[in-house]
């Protein structure tokens, strides 16, 4: 069954998009990550123009994150104050990011920059996760009792930022720290959200836990809360500046990913934490290699269409 995507301007198999949404949803249910970082490259592989892929994924993330954020809000896991400071950074960064996309598209190197940032980030995250989970698996084989319950030591950066001005009390997280840090993390993630069409949870959550020092559950809840608003801002900006949000594409992806996420959550209960993490690390690393090869292997077409002025057809 073919469906015509109005903004992408192409006819594509409905079940292919639904399937990709489903697979990414399954993985995000399994791993507890947003999955946006997998979705954008996959969309590009099936021929969706990169700028449309990124913008439509942001739109899809609004939906995916809002259902999670709603659940966490009811359980009292959202630190609104922290969320709003990060959000302020996120909106600032998102606005910069969208303008950056505009400049890069005009220069014709948007796809290149996007892939380089992806390779760097996925390589870093995938590599670190792979090493960490492998170590855990090896350690549990040896049954080393001393390895149980890794203590989260306060990060040096965290201490440094605790001394910075603009101190604030974050009751829900039980923290008294400078607002500059969550703001700048929000800015960086906001830029990436626009550039890559990702929610940024896979960077934000570790940063909130290990660097800011928030409790894990509050970090996840707060992260989802700010993702809803950050990606809502990116979606709006993309719609206004680049006109590349394909609502139809986003809705099909959403439909697929919600179904997939339910199955992913069920599968997740049957696997151990470190097994899940090493699996995710392998997927991320495989994707990194694929994207890296795209950058260095001689392309089949040396001449390609550059996006027209003012956005998509």
């Amino acid at each position: 069954m073919e469906i015509y995507l109005p903004i992408a301007g192409m006819s594509i198999n409905f079940f292919l998009i639904l399937g990709i949404g489903g697979v990414v949803g399954f993985l995000s249910g399994l791993f507890g990550v947003g999955g946006g970082f997998l979705l954008t490259p996959l969309m590009m592989m099936i021929g969706i123009p990169p700028a449309v892929a990124a913008a439509s994924d942001s739109n899809q993330i609004v939906a995916a994150a809002s259902s999670g954020a709603f659940a966490h809000w009811r359980l009292g896991n959202v630190d609104f104050k922290m969320g709003l400071v990060i959000l302020a950074g996120g909106i600032f960064g998102g606005t910069i990011g969208v303008q950056l996309v505009k400049v890069l598209r005009a220069a014709g190197n948007f796809e290149f920059v996007m892939k380089v940032v992806y390779v760097l980030m996925l390589g870093l995250v995938g590599g670190a996760m792979f090493m960490e989970s492998l170590r855990t698996i090896l350690r549990s084989r040896k049954q080393d009792p001393g390895a149980e319950g890794t203590t989260v030591s306060e990060h040096k950066l965290g201490k440094l930022f605790a001394k910075m001005p603009l101190k604030m009390n974050f009751h829900r997280s039980g923290l008294h720290t400078s607002a500059i840090f969550p703001f700048s993390i929000g800015t960086i993630v906001g830029i990436m959200a626009a550039l890559l069409g990702v929610g940024g949870g896979f960077i934000m959550v570790p940063a909130m836990i290990y660097i800011i020092g928030m409790p894990t559950i509050a970090a996840i809840g707060t992260d989802l809360f700010q993702i809803v608003l950050t990606s809502a801002n990116v979606t709006l900006q993309q719609a206004m500046v680049n006109k590349t949000v394909d609502l139809l594409l986003a809705l099909i992806l959403l439909f697929g990913s919600t179904i997939g996420a339910q199955f992913g959550a069920i599968a997740g209960k049957r696997l151990k934490g470190e097994q899940i993490r090493i699996l995710l690390a392998i997927i991320v690393l495989a994707l990194t290699v694929k994207l890296f090869l795209d950058l260095v292997i001689t392309p089949s077409d040396l001449v390609s269409l550059a996006p027209a002025k003012g956005g998509g057809h």
Binding site: M1, I3, P6, A64, S66, A232, L236, Q262, D301, V303
Partner: protein
């Protein structure tokens, strides 16, 4: 000024007289009666391209036929040319190309160069060399190289042919002529053919001279939801963005509520 004016007129007349050939005006030739199976293609939700059959009557039996499908408007396209920078392949220059049709298809009863002279082909824009001649390239970024013109033209043909927007078929089997008089064939409009007006021109040649001409107009337009989404996203981007966000939030909350009832948490 009064003295100069007659001079200009004489000069103009000399130029006209000295012109190599009198321009061919296809509309002045005998009309070829043609018909299309339909003149409007609607892009709906399940659009996957369309096919239109064309029929026509040869003014004289045994004439050679060339039928050309083009978009009414020429396209302004930007092409990125990739090059190696260190170990990476990235865009190193950009060309703005004007004068190339968005869509270009030809059906001919035999190879074009056996039907018409190069000059006539160029004038009537028949065949890829004629497109190449008409197309203009302007370097907008990077350093020009002599082989670029050819590279960009070949790259464009490859992209267009892959999208099934360009092709040239010089085969009597594809352009059937019944008893030398009634001809029929079909053009396929791929999904990449966007909204707009397209023209199908039928040229009849006898010994390289144009003897008949017919023209059909095909319009492609988005309808229903497709049309509304496109119009709204381009003309009311703020409203479209807010709507996209609200629909996504609503869908997300709805999903959350549905699955909670299913006893997931």
């Amino acid at each position: 000024m009064k003295r100069i004016l007659p001079l200009f007129i004489i000069l103009g007349l000399v130029c006209l007289w000295g012109a190599p050939a009198v321009a061919i005006t296809p509309e002045a030739k005998q009309k070829v009666v043609t018909a299309a199976s339909k003149n409007l293609i609607e892009i709906g939700l399940s659009y996957r391209g369309d096919q239109i059959h064309f029929f026509g009557v040869n003014p004289a039996p045994g004439t050679d036929l060339i039928i050309k499908l083009t978009a009414e408007k020429d396209e302004e396209i930007k092409f990125s040319v990739k090059g190696k920078v260190g170990p990476f392949w990235m865009t190193v220059k950009q060309y703005d190309v004007t004068g190339a049709p968005f869509m270009y298809k030809i059906h001919a009863s035999k190879p074009i160069k056996e039907i018409v002279s190069e000059a006539t082909a160029q004038e009537l824009e028949l065949g890829y060399p004629a497109i190449r001649h008409k197309m203009k390239m302007h370097l907008s970024r990077g350093d020009a190289a002599p082989e670029d013109a050819d590279k960009v033209f070949q790259g464009m043909l490859k992209i267009k042919e892959r999208a099934n927007l360009y092709n040239i078929v010089e085969d009597p089997a594809r352009l059937q002529v019944e008893e030398g008089k009634l001809f029929k064939h079909y053009f396929r409009f791929p999904p990449a053919a966007t909204e707009g007006r397209y023209q199908v021109e039928s040229f009849c040649f006898q010994k390289g001279q144009l003897v008949g001409y017919g023209k059909d107009i095909i319009e492609i337009k988005k309808v229903g939801l497709e049309s509304w989404l496109t119009e709204t996203s381009q003309n009311q981007p703020v409203f479209f963005g807010i709507m996209a966000v609200l629909i996504a939030m609503g869908a997300g909350l709805l999903v959350g509520v549905i699955f909670r009832k299913g006893g997931h948490h």
